[in-house]
Symmetry: C2
Subunit: 321 residues, 2 copies
């Protein structure tokens, strides 16, 4: 990859750039963004090779464009790119929800939509901005790619295997081997994005945008909503100050994500509304189950539920180490 | 305090003993427990001064008896103490729920119930047992005392002030100043327990057992139930393995308490059933509110809720530092 253009050189974009440099990828990395000062900082820090304020010049001969700006800017960025988009350029993004991004890309890019590959790196840090960027941010982390054209194929594969992520890792090269030109063309584009993330040390998985959004509604978006809801429920009470004064380490960890960025989570919640509503409903059912066990003094039932949860949680934590 | 008897020299009991020694309290500390081997370890480590297997001998001339064994043993321990209980001895405990402990103490101790002062140190550690004990476990931590006889006075005070913990810190000395012999007698007993915890570096607060149980249902027991419920909800699904494989740091912190001891949390849940059911109902109402905001695409409403929560959570975390 000769030329990578990053829209939004913050924590994510900056860390991709640093990781590629550390890996000796030899790619020329161009930064584009709203704040010239911030881009200049990125250049001074050696994160990017050059700053470009002209979109046409930025897009010229670009192999890959990574949109790593706040998701609310995605449509506007795609619109600014569209008139200058070379047919050999691939565009990807780093947003937390994928169905909405793909829908926006489809509308803006039209017949060039097949040059777009949705992406979601599952990595972050407490701090944001290019000064927080680091070369190892993605090492061992998951990156999910959602190449919409392969949607149906992968959902079938998922249903057939009814299994874990490893089973749906239909690699781009495997798909290209079927000899279908369309898939071959798509596969090379997907591979370009996958290669970038692999060079950053990430584990790359492909799935449909719909499946991605369902998974993250369950393991990320719902927990965030529950944490926000719990803190809000307490903060609204007349004795909130007293309640908070007795909250300890369990509360601290449980509610850490309730300190997250409100605008970002409003956007994620609305973008992933359908899957999130379905998760809330499932959780309400589970909570009613717990409530019934408690109302019936069903110690054995409560113990069984707590054991299932603690075994699963501790096994998960051990695996993640 | 000349003689302290600790039933259950584990993390909590052992840490109290170490803290008193570090403070140079000069108290003779006697360990009692089911495992002679564990008590011998505590003695060899210098945590306690002597091991006593005879309950009568242990109780003789004891100024204070601290029950720090698993809560399920509390009634049996109180029954073993009762026949040997000197009128000048004070008994306290370290259980996570207080109404149930006080009810048990009332039944077992009868007219000597006024020698019992409920206690709950809000401190813990990942590991348990005397080898995990440390002298600074309670430094800066809250300890709640629930002297049942003062129940009504304190609830009135709470309602009148409608305010935070500082307002219900009716110190034992302040109460004794009203010249009432009953309160004077109780106050000296409460002061003995409070002094022990203060010597350990803790912040001591008094309140009714009912109020204690309501507070901890909100800030501790409900979060535990929600974490257990979320993990169980995911673990039961056919694609659980895939879901867990994409769970990241937000999930890790949110569910840390779902790895807690199942038996302990069954016991706490059942012991604090009334307050916990009320908290579940309140949370269900809050969750329905969030769901409605989402269903109505009410971005402003979601943002307001997330902002209330994040502001409150970050202010809490800053205060705790």
């Amino acid at each position: 990859m000769n030329k990578l253009v990053i829209f939004g050189v913050g924590l994510i974009g900056g860390s991709v750039a640093l990781a590629l440099k550390k890996a000796g990828a030899g790619t020329h990395i161009v930064g584009v963004g709203r704040s010239f000062e911030s881009l200049q900082t990125a250049k001074n820090l050696g994160v990017i090779d050059s700053v470009e304020t002209n979109i046409q010049a930025a897009c010229k001969d670009a192999d890959l464009i990574l949109i790593a700006a706040p998701v609310a800017q995605t449509t506007a960025i795609l619109q600014s790119i569209k008139p200058h988009l070379n047919t050999q350029t691939v565009i990807t993004d780093a947003g937390s929800t994928k169905s909405d991004v793909l829908a926006a890309a489809k509308i803006v890019l039209g017949e060039q939509f097949n040059q777009f590959v949705g992406g979601h790196p599952i990595a972050g840090a407490e701090k944001s901005g290019v000064t927080a960027a680091k070369a190892d941010l993605f090492v061992g982390k998951n990156v999910v790619l959602t190449p919409e054209n392969l949607h149906n194929i992968q959902d079938d594969a998922l249903q057939a295997s009814n299994h874990a992520a490893s089973h749906i890792r239909l690699s781009a090269s495997a798909l290209s081997e079927n000899g279908d030109d369309l898939y071959g063309y798509r596969a090379s584009k997907i591979a370009r994005v996958a290669d970038m993330w692999k060079t950053c040390g990430a584990n790359v998985t492909e799935m449909s945008a719909e499946n991605h959004d369902k998974i993250f509604a369950a393991v990320s978006h719902l927990p965030h909503l529950l944490a926000f809801a719990l803190v809000d429920d307490i903060a609204k009470r007349p004795n909130a100050e007293q309640l908070f004064s007795f909250a300890a380490s369990g509360f601290r960890d449980f509610t850490r994500i309730a300190g997250s960025h409100p605008e970002m989570w409003r956007d994620i919640s609305l973008a992933n509304k359908t899957a999130l509503l379905s998760e809330i409903t499932a959780f309400q059912t589970e909570l009613t189950l717990v409530k019934n066990l408690l109302e019936n003094n069903d110690g054995a039932g409560l113990l069984a539920l707590f054991e299932r949860a603690s075994v699963a949680r501790n096994a998960w934590a051990k695996n993640k180490q």
